[in-house]
């Protein structure tokens, strides 16, 4: 059973449907015991960092996720959920994330070439930085669907895959049992489903 952490950010319909498609059982939950009982955890998220970080903190679910990560349970953050795994972000004032991975979440503004649109919306190619079981069913250069204005910087050893948008942006990260995708696997067609399938098999 995979627990999809419901902390009030974003639409979880497609995530549930995509796991169902790859034959995995999920539960959308904000209950501590359910998250503790789950074999794996998905931390979703759409919207602004500050608001999501506050909801994770105030609901107490951030602590639960951190404790489960420390126990070695596989955890994958998706989009804003991935950004939550880092130390901090300065979107609308500086806010702390869960700090499970080293690095900061910063704006693309002023980093990517002027003239490129922000948010970075659409299908872009994944470039692997290193091998990882999450990618066992996909290939270098496969396209995935992104929607974001901020990205994780200085990820150091957790950096797993990048994408090009004027500059190089972090697309996926992993360190031990803690993983994250900046793109939306649940919206990335077969490629995305294959990443979720690989996550289920970890």
């Amino acid at each position: 059973m995979i627990a999809i952490v419901d902390y009030g950010v974003g639409n979880l319909f497609s995530l549930v449907a995509s796991f169902e498609k790859v034959g995995a059982e999920t539960v959308v939950t904000s209950e501590v015991e359910t998250i503790e009982r789950a074999e794996k955890i998905i931390l979703p998220g759409v919207g602004a960092f500050a608001d999501a970080a506050k909801k994770l903190r105030e609901s107490g679910l951030g602590k639960v996720v951190k404790a489960q990560a420390a126990k070695g349970k596989p955890i994958m953050g998706i989009c804003l959920g991935m950004q939550m795994l880092f130390e901090k972000s300065c979107e609308y004032g500086c806010n702390e994330g869960l700090g499970l991975l080293k690095g900061n979440v910063v704006s693309m503004k002023g980093y990517i070439d002027a003239g490129l649109k922000i948010p970075h919306i659409g299908w872009n190619a994944l470039h692997f930085v290193r091998k990882h079981p999450l990618f066992k069913y996909i290939r270098e250069g496969d396209f995935v669907y992104f929607v974001h204005s901020y990205f994780a910087q200085d990820c150091q050893e957790s950096l797993l895959a990048e994408t090009e948008y004027g500059k190089t942006l972090t697309a996926a990260v992993a360190q031990g049992n803690v993983m994250g995708c900046q793109f939306h696997p649940e919206k990335s067609g077969e490629v995305g489903l294959n990443i979720l399938r690989a996550f289920c098999e970890l």
Binding site: N11, F13, S14, A17, S18, E20, K21, V46, G47, A48, K117, I118, P119, H120, I121, G122, W123, N124, A125, F143, Y145, F146, V147, E164, Y165, E186, K187, S188, G189, E190, G192, L193
Partner: protein
């Protein structure tokens, strides 16, 4: 780099897909769920479901179709039609939509863009606008193209983007249904005015029209069409192959 998107639009009435020829003379085509699956397999980058039903029963059938489609295709789904308030966003988002497109609803109540963007994020709010030339000016039309609002289109689009619309679909009524190409003049004007993704709609008749669109306007993000895809006049896989041969970056 980011790819150019190809987006089939499914007009849905009473649970069936239709395509208006110049917005009139509606013709029945196929099941929205089957078409969505088919397009997803062909390489469509995204799908738009447009609800053109007026009745409550039709609306319920639409959300059933949407839910079914969102369980079977795993590419972004945008839903439009009958979006009058933030509660309509909730209704379709909870059935699997990723983005919601507002058209007449924003004209009747412009604050809907800001409210929805604050609640769901800019990426969720798509402004869709029907535009037609009136005495040499681009005018915004409401109610499926039946009513001239008198609003100047480029400034209207600009205003909605400032309010939080994260993407814009520009449908030219002058080129829609004519199949002689997209409205390059109008689309260039919109791309010059806003810095969010712009999706071209209305006028696609051949693969060459898509090549012209992306070559003439490098800032255009996507091309949207309906009948040329539904009637098999353009196959998406083939369209993408030819675009790639013409050095236009697409997902394949």
């Amino acid at each position: 780099m980011i790819t150019k998107r190809i987006i089939p639009c499914l007009d849905v009435k009473d649970g069936r897909v239709v395509k208006g020829i110049n917005f009139e003379g509606l013709r029945e085509v196929a099941s929205p769920v089957d078409l969505a699956k088919y397009y997803s397999q062909c390489g469509a980058d995204e799908l738009v479901f447009y609800d053109i039903t007026a009745s409550a029963e039709g609306r319920a059938m639409f959300t059933d179709c949407l839910r079914e489609a969102a369980k079977s295709v795993f590419i972004p789904l945008t839903v439009g039609g009958g979006i009058r308030g933030v509660e309509d966003f909730e209704r379709v988002l909870s059935c699997g939509a990723d983005k919601v497109s507002v058209n007449s609803g924003a004209i009747a109540n412009p604050s809907i863009v800001k409210e929805a963007a604050q609640k769901y994020g800019n990426q969720c709010v798509v402004l869709s606008t029907d535009v037609k030339r009136v005495h040499g000016e681009f005018h915004v039309f409401a109610k499926g193209g039946r009513e001239d609002t008198g609003l100047e289109a480029v400034s209207w689009i600009k205003r909605c983007v400032e309010d939080g619309a994260g993407e814009v679909v520009v449908n030219s009524m002058d080129t829609d249904g004519v199949k002689k190409g997209f409205d390059i003049e109008l689309l260039k004007a919109v791309c010059a005015a806003v810095d969010v993704p712009v999706i071209a709609s209305g006028g696609a008749g051949s693969i060459a029209d898509f090549i012209t669109l992306f070559k003439e306007i490098p800032d255009i993000d996507a091309g949207l069409a309906a009948s040329v895809f539904h009637f098999g006049e353009i196959e998406i896989a083939n369209l993408k192959k030819v675009l790639a041969e013409n050095d236009i970056l697409v997902r394949r």
